[in-house]
């Protein structure tokens, strides 16, 4: 009871740890989120369709890195934006929201996973993943930069991305086959497409831009460019553990 009084002042929030971080607090925070936040941030917190609230599942928050800072943002809002504070909420409710937000990124402690981070790192190099993926500034450009992939992807998602890369490809990584008016063809990653133009990175990592009117056709290639080499269960677990360890806070 005494503890509650101390934290209820709110002013102390700058320096304190989140006192409501148990499993039940996650659920209570989720309920708060569902009733107060989804109209801007979306039911799955990946951003609002109509109200443009930012994606809260990326593992990093633009306006704060600490729990206390997130508490302040939720309580006070962000001046000059549509983010208004939950001024009438109890401190406990706001802490529970912070706790819930912390669960959204999918980040886990890689040491708790069955695979070996070290073996995963070796497998990553043996499979030449760096040909397309950058990690800490080294590697290719034809796949997503994995330097902080552990912040936003949980182990199940990472495992699926390894074994079924074509299951869900984000629009940024769609591959397209572009046929010019003269019949020549170029394939590449769809970096940007708008009403009038298309921008791709081809297999040699060149940035190319086309006026759509100058093209005969643009087709999406549904197959991911990621190779699907058969992995043993152990290799997969090791790679998952290594990828889960790639976090923004330990570089």
């Amino acid at each position: 009871m005494l503890l509650l009084v101390v934290f209820a002042t709110g002013v102390a929030a700058e320096e304190v740890e989140n006192p409501y971080s148990s499993a039940i607090d996650v659920r209570m925070g989720q309920r708060q989120f569902q009733s107060k936040c989804t109209s801007c941030h979306g039911v799955d917190a990946t951003g609002g369709e109509e109200a443009d609230g930012p994606d809260l599942t990326t593992g990093s928050f633009r306006h704060s890195t600490t729990d206390a800072g997130l508490f302040r943002v939720i309580r006070d809002g962000i001046e000059g934006t549509s983010m208004r504070g939950l001024r009438r909420a109890k401190d406990q409710e706001i802490w529970q929201l912070v706790t819930y937000l912390r669960t959204l990124s999918g980040a886990v402690d890689p040491a708790s996973l069955p695979g070996s981070m070290g073996a995963g790192r070796v497998a990553f190099e043996r499979l030449d993943c760096g040909r397309c993926h950058m990690v800490q500034g080294r590697g290719g450009r034809l796949g997503p930069d994995l330097s902080r992939v552990g912040d936003r992807r949980g182990p199940e998602e990472l495992a699926e991305a390894l074994t079924e890369p074509s299951a869900e490809v984000a629009p940024r990584w769609w591959t397209v086959r572009v046929t010019r008016a003269d019949g020549t063809v170029v394939e590449g990653l769809r970096m940007g497409e708008d009403t009038f133009n298309l921008r791709i990175m081809d297999g040699e990592e060149r940035l190319l831009s086309f006026a759509k009117t100058s093209l005969r056709s643009v087709e999406r290639i549904l197959e991911s460019t990621m190779p699907t080499e058969p992995l043993s269960g152990e290799e997969r677990d090791d790679l998952v553990a290594y990828l889960a360890s790639l976090r923004g806070d330990d570089s």
Binding site: Q34, V43, E50, R87
Partner: protein, 545 residues
Amino acid sequence: MRGLGWGGMILPLVVAQASPGQEPAADGMPVLSPVTWERLLNSDDEPHNWLMYHGALDGQRFSRLDQINRENVGRLELKWAHQIRQLDRNQTTPLVVDGVMFITESPSNVTAVDAATGRAYWRYEHPLPDGIRLCCGRNNRGVAILGETLYMSTNDAHLVAIDARSGSLLWDTEVADHTKGYSKTAAPLVVGDTVVTGIAGGEFGIRGFIDGYDAATGERRWRTYTVPGPGEPGNETWAGDSWRTGGAPTWLTGVYDPELDLIYWGAGNPAPDWNGDVRLGDNLYSSSVLALDRETGKIVWHFQFTPHDVWDWDAIQVPVLADVELNGELRKAMLWANRNAFYYLLDRGSGQFLFGEPFALQTWANGLDEDGRPILRENVFPTTEGTRVAPIAGGATNWWSPAYSPRTGFLYVNSFDAEGIYYQRDDEYEEGSIFLGGGHRMPLAADHYKSAIRAIEATTGEIRWEFPITPRTRSGVLATAGGLVWSASVDGYFFALDEETGEPLWRMSLGAAPHASPMSYAVGGEQRIVVAMGNVVFVFGLAEE
């Protein structure tokens, strides 16, 4: 006066001198003079001005200026831009009156600038209290004018009157209590000497209404609730006490027909948005259009597009009034492309449903019956597990203005063919708090779906052409007598299409998404095209040859 027939020539001063109620200054530039009700009724006679949110009382968003046309639109260039200080959505449609432009800014400000140069005369900043409840951003879409007074909605649910020459506050009326979830974002509509205005807050379980205020004093003359109370017709369409928190907000500017002397206004979603079980019944007058008597605000007729709406499909679109020939008969019609993906043609005298056809992807109804009521498909209501239905909650279209061109008989509508997953949930109503009863998301990124500007033939509902947009649009549409249709896309393009074919004739990448509808005016005899994108108001005109 339809079409000034400038034929592409620049005739300085002719228009300014021809317009009523004003004397040009010594250098020939127009001088702000009182905007009488007569001027508003006859706004077609002064197409160089944009005297109200929709341009005219009929809601057509059609400019009779034809100096910029299909032949010369390639010569369009930026003339000036106005940067809005607050970073937020920029939903403004500026007014232009005799060479002065009035631009509303987020959250509840308005500034007057010289329409020739964009340089400021004054700015009014409305002080806002903390803790305003807004579902969807600190928006303001525009002002209305009568005489020399501007009327503006504010986010704290006030209606303010501002002197058009100085920016001084003349009166400030609280329309509703903002702490209970009420807010205001739309431009008011002047009808006679009454300022007609709506309310927002459908996501907070408010009880919606449309109000009429004395333009001189700010005193309220009438209020018409869009959720009928006990004893009023329609109250029986709300189970139990659910009418008390029934929503049906009125957050977009309506229109007026002087001959029939009727005001038309759309009403939004019932509350809570996605849980219909707590408000069984049709939920009148949510997701409906209302025809109101000008003097009393009494409801003359209503038409409900989406009875018992459980998808958030507000009938918050512009009622477009046009006289069209249907089966050899001239009809005083209302054209309505609804958020629910159906295009409707109504008789605006009686409210009679004439026909309705889908104009975008929809999977919720097997068409409309002879009264215009949707024939629901099975398994389309939100559930706890989620139900997949097209269109999305944001709609096949939304509040962004369509445009109707009397030259082509087409209604130009921005449209989106996408599906959403709708969730139902139990929510307790708490005064002033979000009250949704569920949630909504799109299962896939917008890139997977199709968006387009569509030309709907008003009398048949046929799509005569479409201009596909990648990835989608959140902009209104303007049609001009130069044969052009203007709109914008979230990828940051502003563009002009051929009114007959949809062929793109001009475009410019402005680098930020639109949340507004374009308009047109002229100053010094030169036509301008205006669009608000990002936090900027851009003004285009022809380059000298």
